[in-house]
């Protein structure tokens, strides 16, 4: 499995490198580059979520909240206090990590529906805070005048530059995630997902790992949020609401939860579907989204990537609940 992953990774690097040049030369799809920038940011969120959902077997309906914590931290520190964006980003990530730790410790003792509801409730509370703390966040009318990014004096202004920056970060996180998976940590995560009691009996500190992976997901989402802030230079709480958390879950599910490639595939596909191909539907977008979600959950719970995994002996159980008793 590892070798194929390496090949796919190389192919992916090539595709990513080449894509903007291609797109900009074909007028009809030249705006796809911008879409891919967003897809890249969302991929950061979904990679973390994929590890949490697909491998550790937990669910989080709060990723948009962490996305927002990173975004608003960067926004507030740079716009209100004049910080350097590259210093603000780690602060945002650390804030998200701290919050994830505080919330994760009580929440991850829960399972199934209770965990889903707890993360859902937490996410909505954070959204309400974004809306209410107008002095800090600008409230529903939003926050403006956020500076852009520059590296060592070079301003990152063009779409191409942003594209390469964002996807560069995605590739780094992807690599990191693959290393995690094909290792002691990855085996422990998969063990927790399949037979949590047995994993614990074999010396795996299951709770600690769940919290760590939850924090990891929060950090990747926060980094994505910081990048989002400086790209869009405008923040509004409506970008960090429950519907977004659900979208992230759908991206991971539709692509395939037990596969990092699946998470990427699902994210890119649904970003395009949401922003581009559904524009036709306009008002129907919500309904279509719900329908896609339903169809995926009912008929393709392993996600699209499972279509590539027909070979017997390939791993993949239907996502199973934590085992009942020891």
């Amino acid at each position: 499995m590892k070798k194929t992953d390496r090949w796919i990774f190389l192919v992916l690097i090539c595709l990513i490198a080449v894509f903007p040049w291609l797109a900009q030369n074909i007028g009809a799809i030249s705006h796809y580059v911008e879409l891919m920038i967003f897809a890249g940011m969302f991929s950061l969120v979904c990679l973390g979520l994929s590890l949490l959902m697909g491998y550790a077997g937990q669910i989080s309906m709060a990723q948009a909240a962490f996305f927002g914590i990173g975004a608003y931290s960067s926004g507030i520190l740079t716009a209100h206090f004049g910080w350097n964006p590259w210093l603000a980003m780690p602060v945002g990530a650390s804030t998200a990590a701290a919050v994830a730790w505080l919330v994760g410790i009580p929440a991850l003792r829960l399972k199934g529906h209770y965990l889903a509801m707890a993360t859902l409730g937490f996410g909505v509370i954070v959204h309400i805070i974004f809306n209410e703390e107008v002095d800090w966040t600008g409230g529903p009318s939003g926050m403006v005048d956020i500076p852009g990014l520059s590296i060592a004096g070079w301003k990152i202004t063009s779409e191409m530059q942003w594209y390469y920056l964002v996807w560069g970060v995605v590739l780094v996180v992807l690599l990191f995630s693959f290393h995690l998976l094909h290792s002691r940590v990855g085996r422990a995560l998969r063990a927790i997902h399949e037979e949590e009691v047995a994993a614990e009996a074999m010396g795996v500190p299951t709770f600690r790992y769940k919290v760590q992976i939850f924090i990891f997901g929060a950090v990747t989402a926060a980094i994505a949020g910081s990048l989002y802030t400086h790209y869009v230079t405008f923040l509004s709480p409506s970008s960090f609401n429950l519907m977004w958390s659900i979208r992230f879950v759908l991206m991971v599910m539709a692509g395939g939860m037990q596969s990092l490639w699946g998470a990427l595939l699902g994210t890119v596909l649904l970003t395009f579907v949401g922003n581009e191909w559904l524009q036709v539907f306009a008002d129907f977008e919500v309904v279509v989204y719900g329908a896609i979600l339903l169809v995926v959950a009912l008929f393709l719970p392993q996600g699209l990537i499972s279509l590539f995994h027909r070979a017997p002996g390939a791993r993949h159980n239907p996502v199973s609940p934590a085992s009942d008793e020891g």
């Binding site: 290792s183 002691r184 085996r187 047995a198 009996a201 074999m202 795996v204 993949h316 020891g326």
Partner: protein
């Protein structure tokens, strides 16, 4: 695997008045017993006697309502399971809790978890120390598979194995944690005679290498064959304890089993 260290005269496992209540039901009513180091200890009794409950208490899945459990002289009741595994107790499960989507080799590699240490960051950045450790994990797991005779199928998905091999695999995984005490919960359940023989042979080899084995079992032939000591439970209470010969002829034991049908 623990080598042939000097055996202590202290019992490796001591149960002192262990009680376990579930709401109104008393599953264990004050178990008092010591397991000497280096033997094969069987725990038998009719269904509902509390044998698996006892295992859950020892391995940390359940916290005894009262009483204490001492492992190598140290109080462990109430410890979290993964800490108990780190201290040197490992187990198998009645319904074979293998990681079915992982390969045979990966299952055993997971067993190396408490004896290894690469963390999040070392792993994510794939530091040299982590890579060395990963190689050692693989080699060690392969040697355990060789010990139990599953080396040829190490690449197969664990869920596809027949039951007999699954049970052996689960034991290999437990062994990989380097336990001083191994708890086997009905290892012969669902096995035919040939498979049971292979199993008995393996258990005796494990014991010879220095690991104390406690096994819950219904297969009386196996029990009589390989056990050094037998503890009999009945409705959560101590009924009898002794060598296989003593237990076989113990009238109270016979009554308990015959009385059940």
């Amino acid at each position: 695997m623990p080598g042939s260290e000097k055996k202590s005269i202290l019992p490796i496992l001591e149960l002192r008045d262990v009680r376990m209540n579930f709401g109104g039901v008393a599953a264990l009513k004050g178990i008092l017993h010591g397991v000497p180091e280096g033997i094969i200890q069987a725990v038998i009794g009719p269904n509902g006697a509390g044998k698996t409950t006892l295992f859950h208490c020892i391995s940390g899945l359940l916290r005894p309502t009262s009483g204490s459990i001492l492992f190598q002289g140290q109080e462990i009741s109430g410890f979290v399971p993964h800490r108990i595994a780190r201290l040197g107790i490992s187990r198998t499960f009645q319904h074979v809790a293998l990681f079915k989507s992982m390969t045979v080799l990966e299952n055993v590699m997971l067993g190396r978890h408490p004896r290894t240490r690469s963390g999040f960051w070392a792993t994510g950045f794939r530091l040299p120390g982590m890579r060395r450790e990963e190689r050692r994990i693989r080699e060690s797991a392969e040697s355990y598979l060789e010990l139990v005779g599953l080396k040829e199928i190490s690449h197969l998905q664990a869920g596809t194995l027949p039951l007999g091999k699954q049970k052996i695999l689960e034991i290999a995984r437990a062994l990989a944690t380097e336990p001083r005490l191994l708890l086997l919960d009905e290892p012969a359940g669902g096995l035919n005679m040939r498979e049971t023989e292979v199993l008995g042979d393996l258990i005796q080899r494990i014991c010879k290498y220095g690991t104390t084995v406690v096994l819950v079992e219904h297969d009386m032939n196996l029990v009589m064959d390989i056990s050094d000591q037998i503890l009999v439970l009945h409705y959560g209470e101590f009924l009898a304890s002794g060598s296989p010969r003593q237990i076989k002829d113990n009238p109270a034991v016979i009554e308990a089993y015959l009385g059940e049908s």
